[in-house]
């Protein structure tokens, strides 16, 4: 599947209220092309609540239920049960939630829905911050990153949500990035065909939140993958498969670009380089990424 072969159907309509350069809209376009018309979206508090535009308008051409911040997983369970009672097994129920709504406030309801075996797809679009509320730290924010609540840079590392999700032993969990739309499209298509809970996390580099120019969204995602900061993988029936460059990194066939290449382009990390280089924090960041790949090799090698 190449980019030009993606379906022409659009379920995210023009005229959304997203910021220029918004990665979530790239993700939504791709994801909805893969899901198709017979889809119900559940959206908790997040940027997408704004992207929808305001009542009585909507930029979505699939039914969409907004729900409270921490409630997506349980809400999806309810929708799936209702559809089952109506004998409708042809509709995709999909949560589209940010990292705050997934890693932090929504983790309980998501975990509950996974444990119950709810037949749905949970997509976390991860921009590594509470961006809709104005760039505050979340459990997904990287070490060292400036946010409005980590003014000198975050002192903690993000949660390993992939491992948390895998510990639920659901049939399908994947990691994707908006910069690789074919990969994302294929993962959603695959998830659609699998019964039970599915999880896909999509890296969505946010220009105002990460402090980079709005025309470099896609590049920022690519660099995250090429530096190994963001791995692309599929975890299916307890089997791990890395995809694209991540596969080459995992197999030692591609030398990761230095993490610095990614950090330097983002204003949120500028204090690590100016006024003078913060060697210790840059090294800790590098080591975190090294350790992640080391864990992958130990566990899946």
């Amino acid at each position: 599947m190449s980019l030009k072969d993606l379906p022409k159907d659009e379920y995210l309509l023009p005229g959304s209220a997203a910021c220029p350069g918004c990665p979530a809209t790239i993700g939504l376009r791709t994801v909805l092309k893969a899901l198709g018309k017979k889809t119900i979206l559940v959206v908790p508090a997040c940027c997408t609540a704004v992207i929808e535009s305001w009542y009585p308008n909507s930029s979505f051409n699939v039914p969409l239920l907004n729900i409270a911040f921490e409630a997506s997983g349980a809400t999806a369970s309810g929708i799936v049960s209702a559809l089952k009672q109506k004998g409708r097994d042809d509709i995709n129920v999909v949560v589209w939630a940010g990292d705050g709504g997934t890693y932090d406030i929504g983790i309980q309801a998501m975990s509950g829905a996974f444990e119950r075996g709810t037949d749905f797809i949970y997509i976390c679009y991860n921009n590594q911050i509470y961006s809709n509320t104005g760039i505050q730290r979340s459990g997904a924010t990287p070490y060292g990153a400036w946010t409005t609540t980590t003014v000198g840079g975050k002192g903690e590392f993000p949660k390993d949500m992939g491992a948390i999700v895998r510990a639920h032993h659901i049939p399908y969990a994947a990691s994707a990035c908006i910069s690789y739309p074919e990969d994302l499209y294929n993962k959603v298509r695959k998830a659609k065909e699998i019964k039970g809970p599915k999880y896909i996390e999509v890296l969505t580099p946010c220009p105002p939140g990460w402090r980079f120019p709005m025309d470099r969204t896609v590049e920022m995602g690519r660099l995250a993958v090429e530096t190994g900061v963001w791995p692309l993988y599929e975890y299916e029936n307890e089997e791990m498969t890395f995809n694209g460059i991540s596969r080459a990194i995992f197999e030692g066939k591609y030398k990761r670009k230095p993490v610095e290449d990614w950090l330097k382009l983002q204003g949120r990390f500028s204090h690590l380089f100016k006024p003078k280089r913060d060697e210790e924090r840059i090294k800790r960041f590098e080591k975190f990424v090294d350790d992640m790949w080391e864990r992958f090799r130990k566990e899946f090698g």
Binding site: V42, Y55, P63, N66, A74, G78, Q85, K86
Partner: protein, 386 residues
């Protein structure tokens, strides 16, 4: 029609089953637990064909009901006390989304210290969520109110969720005989739900997106109008039920010997039932006292209360308190009489945290009013209370 002798909770589960909800989502909490256990038993025996979602919290119970109801399902849940408080955000959500969810709340006091016994602080704290609130005082009333609640909630002029409340243990774990109609009779009384809106790929709507200040007040106004409609429909539905099945508990208020009363006791839930016992006793002593047991707290029956106050003073007994002020029913009764009535209103707080209130205690409360005519917040049987 058959007679079933069972506890309030088992009767609630039976009523829920006979209403044929498509989806039940619930989380266990004392004293509600025997409802969820009974439903699980129905599922295991194949007597309930809907989906039963055992969620991981009450917040998720209400969220699952919201999702299911938005997809067109008839939904039911049950909770108590801290569970209800955890749901609070989603109670607002369900009402604003105009979803006709029916819930049982088995009233239990709030901790700390941990208490499992009854008072109404849990549901009174949900007063402003937009839910219709019905308070029961017998197992028959629990049964009838749950089925009627679905009809009310799903009525095209209402489309609001309904909370059916009754006291933990006093009713939840006490067996009483209950007249139960046959399934076909219930089906005939309560037809399938016709949703006002639904999540449907053939007609994709975005529900609950950003609403600008110019539009928001009108959705609140519509909820208020729906509550006013419910005020008219509750008596109609109760009347229809009486005609079909013979049982009746009053409309918004159950009135007992109020016609010639000098004093009218106003209370709700089990305390309301207890008050009924004392009326005859007081009457024998020549004291002209009546009872107005509030069945419905939202919508608030202001007009009924105004007419009760035409010839009588009111003695309000709350098993609940708004700390820093007074009993919630006391406040609201005075509020609806303001500028329209000269009746005196006396307010007592009694029975918090399940402290026993016997009919003789209620007799003493009435005596105190008649003899002393005190003002202010009056605590009955509490050290330091007036």
């Amino acid at each position: 029609m058959r007679v079933v002798v069972d506890t309030g909770n088992h009767i609630a589960a039976l009523a829920a089953k006979l209403a044929k909800p498509d989806v039940i989502a619930a989380y266990p909490i004392t004293p509600q637990t025997t409802i969820v256990e009974k439903i699980a038993e129905y599922v295991a025996k194949g007597e309930f064909s809907g989906d039963y979602i055992c969620v991981e919290s009450e917040h998720s119970a209400m969220s699952a009901c919201i999702g299911a109801s938005a997809a067109g399902a008839r939904t039911f849940t049950a909770t108590s006390a801290h569970g209800l408080l955890l749901m609070h955000e989603m109670l607002h959500w369900a009402a604003l989304a105009r979803l006709p969810i029916v819930m049982v709340n088995v009233n239990r006091a709030i901790g700390p210290g941990w208490t499992i016994w009854s008072d109404q602080n849990d549901s009174m704290a949900q007063r402003d969520t937009g839910w219709i609130q019905i308070y029961c005082s017998s197992n028959q009333e629990i049964f009838d109110s749950i089925i009627q609640a679905f009809k009310l909630a799903e009525h095209k002029d209402v489309q609001l969720p309904v909370m059916v409340c009754y006291d933990g243990f006093i009713l939840s774990h006490t067996s009483m005989p209950v007249k139960v109609p046959e399934q076909e009779e219930i089906d005939d009384f309560l037809p399938k739900r016709e949703p006002a809106w639904i999540l449907d790929p053939e007609n994709p709507v975005t529900h609950g997106n950003i609403i600008m200040p110019k539009d928001y007040p009108s959705i609140r106004k519509a909820m208020q109008d729906a509550q006013e409609n419910a005020k008219k429909l509750i008596p109609e539905i109760a009347e229809e039920w009486k005609e079909r099945f013979g049982t009746y508990h009053g409309d918004l208020i159950e009135k007992y010997r109020c016609e010639d009363a000098d004093y009218i006791i106003m209370s709700y839930a089990a305390l309301g039932a207890e008050s009924k016992v004392v009326i005859d006793m007081l009457r024998k002593k020549g004291k002209k006292v009546g009872l107005a047991r509030l069945r419905v707290f939202r919508p608030f029956p202001s007009e009924d209360i105004l007419s009760l106050a035409e010839n009588a003073d009111l003695i309000v007994i709350d098993r609940s308190i708004s700390i820093g002020f007074e009993g919630p029913l006391f406040t609201e009764v005075k509020s609806c009489l303001y500028g329209k009535s000269d009746a005196k209103v006396y307010g007592f707080i009694a029975g918090l945290g399940g402290k026993d209130v016997r009919y003789t205690d209620i007799g003493k409360i009435v005596d105190r009013v008649i003899e002393r005519k005190q003002d202010g917040v009056l605590w009955y049987d509490v050290e330091g209370g007036k």
